[in-house]
Amino acid sequence: MKRNEFKSLNRREWIRASGRGVGQIALASMLAQSDGLRGIGAGSSDPLSARAGHHGASADRIIFIYSTGGVSHVDTWDYKPKLYQDHGKKVTASRWLNKPGAFDRYLIKPRWTFSQYGQSGTWVSDLFPKLATRVDDLCVFNAMHCESDGHDKGTLAAHTGSAQFARPSHGAWVSYGLGTVNENLPSFVVLAPHAPYAGAQTWGSDFLPGCHQGTHVIPGDEPLEHLKPRASSPAQQSLELELLGKFNTKSVESSPLDPMLEARMRSFQTAFGMQRQAPEAFDLSTESESTLKMYGLEAGQTKGFGWQCLVARRLAERGVRFIELIDTGSNSGENWDSHGNMQDHERLAKMIDQPICGLLSDLKARGMLERTLVVWTTEFGRTPFHQTADHPGREHHNLVFSSWMAGGGVRGGVVHGKSDEYGIEVDEGGVHTHDLHATMLHCVGLDHERLTYRHAGRDYRLTDVSGRVVREVLG
């Protein structure tokens, strides 16, 4: 999608078009004012105004797909022929249930087979037959690693860069860094039927200004709260807002030194716009049957992962900066946390395979994939071994696991990094959660070392004190 497609939605344009004089004048003066505390956000007292990053961006937005519970890498993206051969063999594991040590464990072979797909010949297991057809768009990371093998800590680390302390979410950082091009919608939207582990902290803004926090949209008939006008008719509401506008104009005129008043006045226009535009963004009735089919959707469906994926595309079209899709919540019986039986992975993969494939195909067909970075990850992988030979489940495994990216300046058909022969540890090309974050920020034009916020006496970053942009995979 080209940038100028947003033109009609650009806020300046919008305000000009709406012809509200005071808004225009006061906005200009607001944009001229500076707020010394806000690092990159300086230059505007409106923390959401669109702005350029630190360098040229290869992506305008991020769609972040999160599979809750810990997806097994050796059963999905990381093909380990030797694991099949040596099934039942004893190995010494250096970590078990989050404790270091030397543990005798039995190798467990995957119950699915792998094949090569696309021109790149990337290996994918039978769990993702549809997504496998898009491997030439994917850059698979097979040497991801992180420190935490607990769900809440792992989820927090994947979202905020910190496993222990409350920190802003990656989406909040991107919103803080770039603002949004459509103030009729939130800059950071999370589409999730349930909160994942660690709850709303995963999309919180924490110490960043609250406007950057993710807006949680629960798939269903009323995805955003308070969108439905309570006034008896739009005309009556307009009447109210007109009177309010008169009063507020006066207050703004008599308080030229307090720009928040102007911002609040303007937010009524935005909210009014959201009442109209947000439901439209969530309304799939104008989508063609063939599009719905791509996402595996039935007409009239208002939930399911296909709905989330299609709404993600619609939000992306409408200028939302960061869209996160979470497939399942923290109920381990329903998510990827297959301790008891790995067979459950099949149900979960089936739920997201077609929708994600549809999303990638659709983005590509519309020319949007180029400028949209799609990221898929999970909190950690699962152990290629178990305490008992032939155990049907797998435990948490943070030493190495898989993730992937597509579009937005990342080369497709690439497999980055390698785990060892059994998928137990990183062999080469390790990518830490911090590195993944650094790369995501880089793609949207932000330097992870310079995207800082002063809080409680120090400058904080999404990547804490580390992180490396995985330049090898950039186009």
Binding site: D152, Y197, G199, S233, L243
Partner: protein, 1040 residues
């Protein structure tokens, strides 16, 4: 980055002349150690190491600094870097030698490398004793000693007289003198003074968080005496609303939450007691130093109090005792990480507590010194662990967590003697009930013919053939009671008619039997017996488990496959006997308390295998009440079908294999009746027991108490598993370093409480006075209200800050007096209605020279915070309940089963003030989250004020705003029929002023147009809409 590259480059250039060194430099003899160090070693260290390992460049990778001898002697996370005389043992040498298992140095990606001769120089130097003349610059944490000595916030309070100023007549009180002096020096002029209406609205919202009522405004306007302002302020300060408002301010700092914050976010039923204590303390105007001390060591003061024996004031004493214990909630109420009341994650709880103490009372980020010395401030890792020792010597209330789902260690609100007395009473009552239950049960067992070998129906004779076993048995999977499965052996139960065929299900399936009482292995042995058979030749195995609960505490495990019998010993399966398909076996075991082993034999037709003494499972808690046969046996390859019969778990031995069959007693009609009555009796007694056990005999607090006093060890990189030296408990060295006396019987919290509130502590009063200033003006004299360290900002008016701090201490830390000084100053009376047109000169000067208003030349409009907004909307509409609510309606503690997979979450409706809303730690309250309420994960000193469209949607469309506007409109319509009077009333209630002519005209036009378009109740709806417009207008939302 660029700077670093330059350094690398320089380093590379320096390399060249150094390569000339000989093979054995020491052999040259004439070189002194000093010469050698200067010529060979210092250049290597400077050029190759100090880029990453030096204090002067603020870097200490791995905690190691190499720019002084002390640096490598102390070493980093892995310990001392050099062992003088022993290169092989020296980590530095092993690193530069790139030995296996050591981080290679310099790192490959640094672009630096050492030549072989340089490495030999280093080895030779270490071998010769590592002579190193470099002294470390005297530093405390991130600061040089002389910097510490001159840093403003560590200076003793200065005594400053209010300055003489040119605009003497402008001044109302001493505060104004300092402010005017600043303005004069900056060439600024203050704007005019606020009108009486503007000021009463500001001061009322500021001090109480509520808009003033029309009556309050009228009363104030009518008071023309010079004392009007002071009288108003006194009335506000004495109101409970004020305590609620300023209590909320403190609760932000104290990171107050109603839940614990581990992954499962357990509710804390008693947290509200601390919240209410804060509010009550403010309402009583408790001196600030005392307020501080009680939050750190209230329980210890309570103990002192309990020791005094004046009977006359006993009730007061008890109330005070409870209050003092409750006060320690400040420590407990932080973010908690543990899953059970043990030390596993306590280092994280302590990190929160230490950091919060630092930020709240001292304006210092002590938490930064957890892994390394503070990077900027004079706080060392020793300082951190000195305080850590105090935390570790304290017993913390445990709120409940994933592993232990019930609260523990909550301190009682009554003295220990009273607790003991009450608990003794309870124990006595319980004991007599337990005796009754035991008697009834014993009699019942005697009468029950199916009771045998330790339980009811262990031989399955009472089960229905063709169905899975039920009642005393539990069954999952394809299991069926069958005559086919009857054991041929009769020496334990006599000849029966049925057993159970446990089918080949999943490993989780099988049968379970739970005894109606726990057997404890004390001085008498326990006996276990069972008959089994593998009917067909199938793959896999099954497990026999005996222990407490469902694998909660394992006593022993055996396993059966088609051809082998295995036992588990020290976690490993071991085959001890062969088995034959289709053959019945009898297993009989004895658990021996004398050596904690089990042993016995496996018997069958012309078969006998003994099982030698095997230790019981190491983690067994000596209790057994559960038998399980599931699929987790010694072979993983599927689960086999098996027949079971004649289970026995008893404190008496069973008959020997092959001994005569037993006679079973039969049941008489008389015993039937008695049987039923005994059952009823037991049920009643059990209900009584539960009620007594659940009785709340005394309240408890979410606070702390004393544990065993102990010093802590430094944790390298903050990891509790990597400890270093022990540090005595003491205060921060930069603030005096006072030490907890050796062999002190207490944790040291008492001492800490006094250090934190010591008038000589330069931060104690400064930090608080500045906070109060911030609360009144929205900006502190020091803008970084919780950071008085190097990364914080310096005070705009240092003399004023010290003057106020000094006067505050002299007043006996009288907080109300401090409020009075500030809000009665002329500075606080400046208007926020800055008319740029009329006041061009002053305003443009101010805008240019001081846009952020640091010099206080005007008042800044501030948005209502979340609580003020909600409370004000509720109060103007008459919907606010001003009472203090009872505790939150949390689910009953007996039902708590929260886990990270299923965390606690609730939102409770309330009409009370927002300070009383139930606020979770892990999930923000939807309303408070939307309007930037405090995040209880951290000590919050300032609210972020955001302006978002989602907030505005709330203002436009939320039920709260609509209910409130409707309620207000009804109230006004009821009051008067006269439209103009009604309009004035609405304006007075919402905006605290009459409507202007223009506004009147606009409103009337609006009302008419609105009403016309409604088909019914036009008037009511139109007035509702008008109220909504007013209570969401800028004039309402922003405080003048």
């Amino acid at each position: 980055m660029c700077d670093l590259f330059c350094r690398f480059f320089r380093a590379l250039c320096c390399l060249v002349p150094l390569v000339v060194g000989g093979l054995s430099p020491i052999a040259k003899g004439q070189e002194t150690p000093s010469d050698f160090f200067e010529a060979r070693i210092r250049p290597i260290l400077v050029d190759h190491c100090e880029i990453c390992h030096s204090l002067s460049t603020q870097k200490s990778s791995g905690g190691l600094v190499l720019d002084s001898a002390d640096g490598w002697k102390t070493g980093g996370d892995s310990g001392p870097a050099i062992v003088p005389g022993n290169p092989k043992e020296s980590l530095l040498i092993r690193a530069v030698r790139r030995d296996q298992g050591h981080s290679p140095m310099p790192p490959a990606d640094s672009g630096l490398s050492l030549t072989e001769s340089q490495i030999r120089d280093l080895e030779a130097w270490v071998l010769q004793g590592a002579f190193d003349p470099r002294k470390s610059a005297e530093r405390i944490g991130g600061m040089r000693a002389e910097e510490v000595r001159s840093w403003w916030s560590f200076q003793p309070l200065g005594s400053h007289e209010p300055p003489e100023v040119v605009h003497d007549r402008w001044v109302w009180n001493p505060i104004d003198r300092f402010v005017v002096a600043g303005l004069e020096a900056q060439g600024l002029e203050p704007v005019s003074t606020a009108s009486k209406r503007e000021w009463i609205r500001r001061v009322t919202l500021d001090l109480t968080g509520l808009v003033p009522t029309p009556e309050q405004i009228q009363e104030y306007l009518a008071d023309e005496s010079p004392q009007a302002d002071a009288r108003l302020v006194d009335r506000l300060l004495e109101s409970y609303e004020h305590a609620e408002r300023y209590g909320r301010h403190w609760l932000d700092v104290a990171r107050y939450s109603d839940t614990a914050g581990d992954g499962a976010d357990y509710p804390v039923r008693e947290a509200y007691r601390y919240r209410d204590w804060v509010i009550r303390s403010i309402h009583r105007n408790k001196p600030w130093d005392q307020f501080v001390r009680e939050q750190i060591a209230g329980d210890l003061f309570a103990k002192d109090l309990a020791g005094s024996s004046d009977a006359a004031d006993a009730p007061v004493r008890l109330e005070t005792y409870a209050d003092l214990v409750t006060a320690t909630g400040f420590l407990a109420v932080g973010k908690r990480y543990g899953y059970a009341p043990n030390a596993d994650f306590q280092h994280l709880d302590f990190a929160d507590a230490i950091d919060s103490i630092g930020r709240s009372f001292l304006g210092l980020s002590i938490g930064c010194a957890r892994c390394h010395d503070h990077k900027y401030d004079p706080i060392t890792v020793q300082d951190y662990y000195a305080l850590y020792g105090i935390m570790q010597s304290t017993l913390w209330a445990f709120p409940g967590g994933e592993e232990q789902k019930r609260p523990a260690n909550f301190p009682a609100l009554v003295p220990p003697e009273q607790v003991a007395q009450l608990e003794r009473g309870r124990t006595d009552r319980l004991r007599s009930i337990d005796e009754g239950i035991e008697r009834a049960r014993a009699e019942r067992m005697e009468l029950d013919p199916s009771y045998h070998a330790g339980g009811i129906d262990l031989d399955l004779e009472a089960q229905e053939v063709g169905k899975p076993p039920t009642k005393a048995w539990l069954s999952a999977g394809p299991n069926v009671v069958s005559s086919e499965s009857q054991s041929p052996y009769s020496h334990v139960f006599g000849q029966g008619t049925r057993g159970v065929r446990v089918g080949a299900g999943t490993p989780f399936e099988g049968v379970r039997y739970v005894l109606d009482r726990k057997l404890t292995l004390t001085d008498r042995p326990l006996y276990f017996a069972i008959d089994f058979r593998v009917p067909e030749s199938t793959q896999g195995s099954c497990r026999l488990y005996l222990g407490r609960g469902v694998i909660e505490s394992t006593a022993l495990e055996c396993s059966i496959s088609k051809d082998a019998f295995a036992i588990k010993n020290a976690g490993e399966w071991k085959v001890v006997s062969a088995l034959e398909v289709g053959k019945w076996y009898h297993l009989q075991l004895k658990l021996d308390p004398s050596d904690m082993t089990w042993s016995g034999g496996l018997y069958g037709d012309e078969f006998e295998a003994s099982i030698s003494k095997t230790p019981v499972s190491a983690t067994w808690d000596r209790q057994a009440d559960t038998f399980i046969c599931d699929g987790f046996g010694h072979i993983g390859d599927g689960v086999l079908a098996r027949d079971l019969d004649n289970l026995g778990i008893h404190t008496e031995p069973f008959g020997a294999f092959g001994s005569p069959a037993l006679e079973r007693p039969s049941r008489s009609p008389a015993s039937q009746e008695r049987f039923a009555s005994l059952d009823k009796q037991v049920k009643e007694l059990q209900a009584q027991r539960a009620a007594i056990a659940a009785e709340v005999l005394y309240g408890v607090a979410y606070g702390v108490s004393e544990a065993k006093p102990t010093d802590a060890r430094i944790q390298l990189r903050g990891e509790p598993s990597k400890t270093s030296d022990e540090v005595p408990r003491r205060f921060l060295s930069v603030l005096g370093g006072q030490v907890v006396p050796r062999d002190h019987a207490e944790s040291g919290r008492r001492e800490l409480a006094y250090w934190l509130s010591d008038p000589k502590n330069p931060l104690a009063a400064r930090v608080f006075v500045n906070r109060v200033w911030h609360w009144h003006f929205g900006q502190g004299l020091v803008p970084t209200t919780s950071d008085f360290g190097v990364r914080g900002q310096a005070p705009s008016h240092p003399e004023l800050l010290d003057y106020l701090a000094q006067r505050f201490i002299e007043s006996g830390w009288d907080v109300r007096q401090l409020h009075r000084w500030i809000v009665l100053s002329r500075t606080y009376h400046l208007t926020s209605h800055v008319d740029a047109q009329e006041d061009t000169d002053r305003v443009s000067k101010g805008r240019q020279l001081d846009p952020s208003n640091r010099w206080l030349w005007r008042s800044v409009k501030r948005p209502m915070d979340a609580e003020t907004l909600r409370d004000s909307i509720l109060s103007v509409s008459g919907l606010l309940d001003r009472g203090v609510p009872k505790e939150h309606p949390f689910p009953s503690v007996d039902t708590w089963a929260f886990t990270i997979h299923n965390p606690f979450h609730a939102v409770y409706d309330s009409a009370h003030r927002s300070v009383y809303l139930m606020q979770q730690r892990n999930r923000k309250h939807p309303y408070l989250g939307l309007f930037d309420g405090a995040d209880p994960n951290l000590s919050v000193d300032q609210r972020q004020a955001t302006t978002t469209p989602t907030q505005t949607l709330y203002l436009m469309n939320s039920p709260l705003v609509h209910q409130a506007s409707e309620s207000l409109s009804k109230r006004c319509i009821r009051t008067t029929l006269d439209v103009t009077a009604r309009l004035q009333l609405v304006y007075e209630i919402t905006l605290g002023r009459p409507a202007s002519q223009e506004e009147q005209a606009q409103c009337l036009e609006f009302l008419e147009a609105y009403a016309q378009r409604e088909s019914s109740d036009g008037e009511l709806k139109a007035w509702g809409a008008l109220c909504r417009v007013l209570m969401t207008s800028n004039s309402f939302l922003y405080i003048d």
